[in-house]
């Protein structure tokens, strides 16, 4: 366009650009926008999740915890069951850096054992004269890595000729820190396995109820109502008391996870059902039906992906209750049995308050339990917020 007011009017020559014209020129996206609009839903969720700081921190923490279960043998200075009969109820030995003003690197003082003349209890005092430096990346108590490979590598070993009970010992003189490290294996996996079972149950039963409706729906609904309305703990107690004593501890472990899952699925199942009920009315579901897809394909291929993220978020939120339930059952002596050791089994030692009042470190397994539960709750919150990235 030329300036109309100027004189004299000259025609501009006819001009046709040979370049391709992009009809969307006005709507062109910047690189950032493009990245955002082209991202898949899981990527969007991840971006949204990243903004929730506590959730990210919790996820890192949990990842570290789970990673530690893979290398428990390296982290724990002692074996799960090794007893030190000379050090029963030894108090935690603190790690020092300076001895008489001199830097010595991490070391502990040796323990001197005496008997209290009145109560005949053992009294441990730190032998301040003799600092014993800890060894790192060392060869210590032998073990079978994952129960298969003989090895003796540890990150930290007790000093030569001494002991290193960072968190004290229990009534059999077993190192509490090592036991907590090993127990993480059981406590952390039981939540995952349990939730997987409960997830599958919820998908199948909730899926059937939601997709078919009718009498299947009412039966499943009644069952969920009864299970949801009945207090879980007494039922858990009854069910785990019903596991025969003769079963091996490993079978008991799976029995407990199944019991936990049996009472846990209704919450998820209900979510599956209500989502399916609404989604199966969508046009794309009807289209698939018209084209002759089988119910399993419609549910699995078309309906489930639509709310999978929600399900995973709510499943994550119910992992802590599983871990807690196991802890509670084992604490009450109806859950896992030694030699399988979970945090609850460790806490079982802390049931007698008179013992705990003297040996306070027996309560320490509470700390990892609370931390893991908090972390799961934060992470679950973050996941739930992120679960619907288009909102």
């Amino acid at each position: 366009m030329t300036d109309q007011s100027s004189t004299p009017p000259t025609r501009t020559p006819h001009f046709v650009s040979q370049e391709k014209w992009d009809p969307y020129v006005a709507e062109r996206l910047t690189a950032d926008q493009e990245k955002y609009y082209m991202a898949g839903q899981w990527k969007l969720m991840w971006w949204r999740f990243r903004k929730h700081r506590p959730a990210v921190v919790s996820m890192v923490f949990l990842a570290l915890m789970y990673f530690s279960t893979a290398i428990s043998e390296w982290i724990a200075p002692y074996d799960l069951h090794s007893r030190h009969s000379a050090y029963i109820f030894a108090p935690p030995q603190s790690v020092h850096l300076f001895h008489e003003g001199k830097f010595l690197g991490p070391f502990v003082y040796g323990l001197k054992t005496d008997r209290d003349p009145d109560t005949l209890q053992r009294v441990y005092t730190a032998d301040l004269a003799k600092p014993m430096p800890l060894r790192f990346f060392c060869s210590g108590a032998p073990y079978e890595f994952w129960g298969m490979i003989d090895a003796s590598f540890h990150f930290v070993c007790p000093p030569e000729g001494g002991q290193f009970f960072w968190l004290g010992t229990d009534r059999l003189g077993r190192d509490l820190f090592s036991r907590i490290v090993y127990a993480a294996r059981i406590s952390l996996t039981i939540g995952i396995i349990g939730i997987t079972l409960s997830f599958v149950l919820a998908l199948v039963l909730g899926g059937l109820a939601g997709y078919y409706g009718g009498w299947i729906d009412s039966v499943v609904q009644r069952i969920t109502e009864i299970i949801k309305s009945f207090p879980h703990l007494p039922l858990w107690l009854a069910l785990s008391a019903a596991l025969p004593v003769t079963w091996s501890p490993l079978v008991i472990y799976f029995g407990i996870t199944i019991i936990l899952a049996l009472l846990d699925w209704p919450g998820l199942g209900r979510a599956v059902r209500s989502k399916l009920l609404s989604l199966r009315e969508e046009d794309y579901a009807a289209a698939a039906q018209m084209m002759g897809a089988k119910p399993a394909r419609i549910i699995g291929r078309h309906l489930l992906p639509g709310f999978m993220s929600h399900l995973i978020a709510s499943a994550t939120l119910s992992i802590p209750s599983m871990i807690l339930a196991e802890t509670a059952l084992s604490f009450l002596g109806l859950g896992l049995r030694p030699p399988i050791t979970s945090w609850g089994v460790l806490l079982n030692e802390a049931t007698d308050i008179n013992v705990v009042a003297v040996n306070w470190w027996l309560m320490l397994p509470v700390v990892p339990v609370v931390l893991v539960i908090l972390a799961y709750q934060f992470m679950g919150d973050g996941m739930r917020d992120a679960a619907d990235p288009y909102a």
């Binding site: 309305s229 009945f230 802590p320 509670a328």
Partner: protein
Amino acid sequence: MLNFIVRRVLLMVPTLFVISALVYFIIDLPPGDCVTSQIDELLARGDADALVRADELRALYGLDQPLWQRYFEWVGGIFRWDFGLSCQDTVPVSELIGERMALTLIMESSTIAFIWIVSFVIGVYAATHQYRMGDYVASFIGFVGLSVPNFLLALVLLYVGKVYFGLSIGGLMDPEYIDKPFSWGKFVSVAEHLIIPVIVIGMSGTAGMIRRLRANLLDELQKQYVVTGRAKGLPPMRLLIKYPLRHAINPFVADIGGLLPDVISGSVIVSVVLSLPTTGPMLLGALKTQDVNLAATFLLFVAVLTVIGMLISDLALAALDPRIRFGATSEK
């Protein structure tokens, strides 16, 4: 309304029947019975008559009869307040459980009352003082309450009480009142001992309730009618109580369905930790020794409590909120 109540009560009967049968069956499931452990003990002591004694005991407890027959005998007895013999000390179950059930009931209802009162006060305060100090404190307490498991809290409190204050918080009354008839002194003593368990059991319920009440009330407070009311010069207190609060208070009643099972579960484990003379520890013992009659009676008691609680909550909700139609409540 009457129709609704009758239908609900009638629905309770089959539910309870199914639960009781299931529970009875589950407890009896593992191999061996409650006599086995007693006999093992006798054998270990070198009692030669142990095996003869075993048969006598089995006959006494009716363990030689098939399971279903024992179950129906037990169910039949319920209506006469006769729950059969307890296996552990050969006493009728009904004699063992009376006071424990009463104490459990007292503890659980005071816990619910505690949850209501505390979460009401804190929740309303937090919502009306959003993003101020008090709100943050309340949110923090709520978060801790939700995430710290109650039995661990009980354990820690027990330890703290024992070591730093030299008091034992176990038990539900001072020793001199145990097995004494009811009196004012006993009542006061029980009330004092109830404080800790009630706080511990009610912690997570209170936390959840505060969260919901705060969220609901905040939603309500942003609505236009509140602005209108304020513009027209309603005093703040009246403005709060007259409408928004009435809306926001629904979960208090509606959530009893979720609250009650939690409180009962919590009371079982907390009373084991604090060794309270309620049903919890005895249930645990009965389950461990396969004392079927005793355990099943306790579990049935729990079930009845839950079912009645649900009914009351549904009725209260229907009375409180006229929008709720009776047919629709069960769908929620």
